[in-house]
């Protein structure tokens, strides 16, 4: 029997397919963080004065804050002075106007990752914004989307072209002082995606941003802002990869979503940052703040995430259910292997009447990894008849990994209904034997069981990405039969 546990552990080896590095000419700021760094980034992007001032104010707030230590993760404190805060392909000087002007090596990088940028080759109906280290290198279908009034562009372009919109919403969902990493991001963010969906518009295609960290010793601090105006709908997906490196790299992003009356945003993430090697060397520190403000009545935000990468994940995509009858959803699969650590979950803050939230979290721990769900459900005094349903399931592979659940519930309204269900199970030897006795290889059998375990979450992903996510789960569990 013991040998079976070992077999399972051997099976969940790791092969990271996105681990290559692209050798391109780049402009990189020397490591270090001070006011001059921020002024440099802002000047580089020809930012208006108000934005520079905002950044500097955020930096002052950041200086008064300390790194959070409450998460169930251990790592040496990040030396922020050792990181470069700006790395961009050289060609940024004269930004590419068309694909022909993009460095072919960058195009190649995305081809290798399975993301062709030529619009005729792009998966039908998906527009992509490509963020390479600190800058957005290309956004596809911009013009086509503009025909229906949808704005989809890099954050830098948005600052230049739609300053009023950016200024109106930036930092209103995640204030700079929210936490240490959001304050840092607010000071030094370099690029990201911006989306605005006008009133009563259903975005005609899926939007997606693909993040790639390429440069050495750099951090990625992107900023995403999505505004869905009254009665609009958009489905948005982000994907992430990075080369395999021995050093840890910091990724501290901020994502802000705003939904007005009757608007809906479906936000999906397939996160595949480099997780480090099997001895825990290298990998991305993914310290991300994602929050949605359901300002409007009957508005809805749905977060779906499949997390297989990063050495350390610290991330809680949240919903502030401010508008009456607004709905928040969180569907998550977090898979950790080897020495990966994840502390992830969500916050659902019910402020409006008749607000509803659903949390489905699936944690899978293999190797010697640590996987924690941390979630807060808060019902304010004014949230009459608020409802929450939470389900947290953990699946353990082998006998050296760990799963933890930290649910927090704060309820100030007696009419609220809050349900919490949790389960922890080991991958069952009976299930494995059943499938193997039918002729299915052990590795495929584990894959099948894990995918089945995640099904409730995977079915929330847009079709193309569900397939990608399933493959990714497979790769993350891949290895040789021991």
């Amino acid at each position: 029997m013991a040998s079976n546990a070992e077999n399972i552990e051997n099976l969940v080896g790791q092969s990271y397919e996105a681990g290559f590095y692209t050798d391109i000419e780049q402009e990189m700021l020397p490591p270090g963080l001070n006011e001059a760094t921020i002024r440099f980034i802002s000047a580089k992007k020809n930012e208006p004065e108000w934005l520079l001032e905002w950044r500097l104010k955020c930096y002052q707030q950041f200086l008064s804050m300390t790194e959070p230590v409450w998460a169930n993760v251990t790592y040496p404190s990040v030396d922020l002075q050792a990181i470069s805060y700006y790395a961009a392909p050289k060609r940024d000087e004269d930004r590419p106007k068309s694909l022909d002007e993009i460095d072919p090596k960058i195009l190649e990088t995305y081809e290798k990752l399975g993301i062709p940028l030529q619009e005729q080759k792009v998966l039908a109906g998906i527009a992509v914004d490509i963020v390479f280290d600190s800058v957005s290198v290309h956004t596809t279908f911009r013009e086509k989307l503009a025909e229906v009034g949808v704005i989809f562009c890099s954050f830098s372009d948005a600052v230049r072209e739609y300053p009023d919109l950016v200024r109106k919403y930036l930092g209103t969902v995640v204030p700079a002082r929210d936490n240490y990493f959001s304050a840092l991001n607010s000071a030094v963010f370099s690029d990201g995606s911006f989306v605005y969906i006008p009133k009563n518009t259903r975005c005609p295609m899926e939007l997606s941003t693909y993040f790639r960290m390429n440069a050495e010793n750099s951090g990625q601090f992107e900023r995403t802002l999505i505004i869905a105006d009254e009665g609009s709908y958009v489905s948005y997906l982000e994907g992430c990869t990075a080369p395999m490196r021995d050093e840890n790299q910091l990724h501290a992003a901020v994502v802000e979503l705003v939904t007005m009356d009757d608007a809906e945003i479906k936000y999906s993430t397939v996160q595949n940052w480099y997780p480090g090697d099997e001895d825990g060397k290298g990998g991305i520190y993914n310290f991300v703040t994602k929050r949605a403000d359901c300002r409007g009545k009957r508005s809805k935000v749905s977060w779906t995430q499949v997390e297989t990468g990063s050495a350390i994940t610290w991330k809680y995509p949240s919903c502030i259910l401010r508008g009456d009858y607004s709905v928040g959803e969180f569907y998550s699969v977090a898979l950790t292997n080897n020495l990966q650590q994840a502390d992830t979950g969500t916050k659902m803050v019910h402020l409006g009447k008749e607000t509803k939230s659903t949390i489905i979290s699936k944690g899978i721990s293999a190797g010697k990894s640590e996987n924690a769900y941390r979630g807060l459900v808060r019902v304010g005094g004014s949230a009459e008849n608020a409802r929450n349903y939470t389900q947290c399931d953990s699946l353990l592979l082998g006998d050296r990994s760990a799963a933890h659940t930290f649910p927090y519930i704060e309820c100030k309204n007696p009419t609220a209904q809050i349900e919490h269900e949790a389960s922890t199970s080991k991958i069952s030897e009976d299930q494995l034997f059943y499938l193997r006795s039918r002729g299915i290889q052990q590795e495929d059998a584990i894959n099948m069981i894990v995918n089945g375990f995640c099904k409730e979450v995977l079915k929330e992903l847009p079709m193309e990405f569900a397939v990608e996510a399933q493959k990714l789960l497979g790769i993350s569990l891949e290895g040789s039969v021991g």
């Binding site: 029997m1 079976n4 030897e429 034997f433 059943y434 193997r436 006795s437 039918r438 002729g439 052990q442």
Partner: protein
């Protein structure tokens, strides 16, 4: 086809099977009967390759290959199938999807090409009718929320799709009412062909009214204590297992 010689099996150091000898030829149906704890399920599990059983002595040859050297999925590839006494539920995994992966796994083992979804679904449609399984169950999660009878029918349905040469039915009658029992037995009878052998493990004679065996073996304390034809099963039904146990002591 199958030759079990002097098979000794222990679980956690305790001997469960103490020298089983059994030869099964193509086209034959062998019933293995015995009281609780006689080692019937152990024999089924060892044939299919379940872990946790230590073979301390003896051999199992299947088509001239040593079965004990093969992994469970390799045994399936060679043509061994076990219908479980308690079919396992697998949440989130579609019944047909699993079966397609199984069939293609077996085909890959034999160096045959994969069946396309279209070919597979056509075959499934034909076979599901033959075993009398509700078609609605095809796209449900594996065994999840199935009644006892549905689970057993699903096992026989899998058998019909995977087309093994040796099918081991482990207490397929347990937990079935008489109608379900008949339906399951009908399904099995349709699958009796000259190239396929069955080992039917059961506690009660009633299943053998419907699946009529060529041989009946009685297992007691880890040994086959008596072999006969279907009449032996009737005698057992009448006189109970104690009769044999006593006789054996004399």
């Amino acid at each position: 086809m199958l030759e079990i010689k002097n098979l000794h099996v222990a679980v956690e150091g305790k001997e469960i099977l103490s020298g089983i000898n059994l030869t099964v030829n193509a086209g034959e149906v062998h019933a293995v009967m015995g009281p609780n704890g006689s080692g019937k399920s152990t024999l089924s599990h060892v044939l299919a390759g379940k872990e946790g059983y230590e073979v301390t002595k003896g051999s199992i040859l299947f088509k001239e290959k040593s079965l004990l050297d093969l992994e469970p999925e390799e045994r399936a590839g060679e043509g061994v199938f076990l219908a479980f006494q308690y079919p396992i539920e697998i949440a989130g995994v579609n019944n047909v999807y699993m079966l397609k992966a199984a069939l293609n796994g077996i085909r890959a083992y034999r160096g045959e090409s994969e069946l396309s979804s279209v070919q597979f679904l056509k075959m499934v449609k034909d076979k599901v009718k033959a075993v009398g399984l509700d078609e609605g169950l095809l796209n449900r999660q594996v065994n999840s929320g199935f009644s006892g009878g549905e689970k057993k029918k699903n096992e026989i349905f899998q058998l019909s799709v995977l087309e093994p040469t040796l099918a081991v039915l482990d207490e397929t009658d347990s937990g079935l009412d008489i109608d379900a029992l008949k339906a399951v037995a009908d399904g099995v009878n349709k699958l009796r062909i000259a190239t396929r052998a069955f080992i039917v493990v059961t506690h009660y004679q009633r299943l053998l009214d419907h699946i009529v065996p060529d041989f009946v073996h009685v297992l007691s304390k880890g040994k086959i204590v008596r072999t006969g034809d279907k009449e032996l099963a009737l005698t057992l039904e009448e006189r109970g297992y104690d009769w044999l146990a006593e006789e054996n002591l004399v």
